[in-house]
């Protein structure tokens, strides 16, 4: 499985756009990029998955450059409730389980 590297923590003010970048230099052809979100005292939950270019849903956008060696999770206009740990995972659909790592702790400040 491709190893991922992401910042340990980030701070942001409410209303700002937050971009969290994940590096995955050894990504394989069949690998997808998946992001999970974990609120305090809860289990992680899936938020977005992509293979290339851009994916958007009601929670976030995921930007993947052509070489796919990195990806950026974008959270528009964050609020205090977006304070959570965000995990970047890389692997193929048949890779079970994927590796979660330590994630990025996002703190949103009023």
């Amino acid at each position: 499985l491709a190893k991922t590297t992401q910042p340990i923590s980030m701070d942001s003010y409410e209303g700002q756009e937050v971009n969290i970048t994940c590096s995955h230099n050894n990504i394989a052809t069949n690998d997808y990029i998946t992001w999970y979100q974990q609120f305090p005292s809860q289990g992680p939950r899936f938020i977005i998955q992509g293979y290339k270019t851009k994916v958007t849903n009601e929670v976030a956008s995921l930007f993947i450059p052509a070489d796919r060696k990195s990806s950026t999770l974008s959270l528009p206009r964050v609020s205090l409730s977006d304070t959570a740990v965000y995990y970047c995972l890389v692997g193929a659909w048949e890779d079970t389980p994927l590796v979660f790592g330590k994630g990025t702790r996002l703190s949103v400040i009023a």
Binding site: G43, R45, P97, V99
Partner: protein
């Protein structure tokens, strides 16, 4: 709506006790997982199962065992609890097949071993 439930949110046990953590999922998922989460260490996989009566060791299986007698239920067993097993334990499940590796997590069990 997928639901993964864990038998307890909080549990306090004594050193040497045998501890059972139960996990049940209601969406007929083939795969089930047990993780532990500690500050600064992220989620670490203890065991997983891809079918009834099947189990695979994860990254940190020492001191733990598992049981999967029914598809919907996956149990984590601490044969003789120790203080270094104080942690948050998270159960998850997922389907098998193309486009289906999303894991659904339970709320977690915070275990304290005294």
């Amino acid at each position: 709506d997928v639901k993964v439930t864990q038998s307890s949110r909080y549990l306090v046990k004594r050193t040497g006790e045998k501890v059972f953590l139960e996990c049940v999922q209601d969406m007929d998922h083939e795969n089930m997982f047990w993780y532990r989460q500690d500050p600064g260490l992220g989620l670490r996989l203890i065991y997983f199962s891809y079918d009834v009566k099947m189990k695979e060791k994860g990254d940190i299986p020492e001191g733990y065992s598992v049981s999967r007698e029914k598809k919907e239920r996956f149990s984590l067993i601490l044969e003789s609890a120790s203080t270094n097993q104080t942690s948050m334990y998270l159960c998850a499940s997922s389907l098998t097949g193309e486009g289906h590796n999303e894991q659904f997590f339970g709320p977690g069990t915070r275990l304290t071993v005294l």
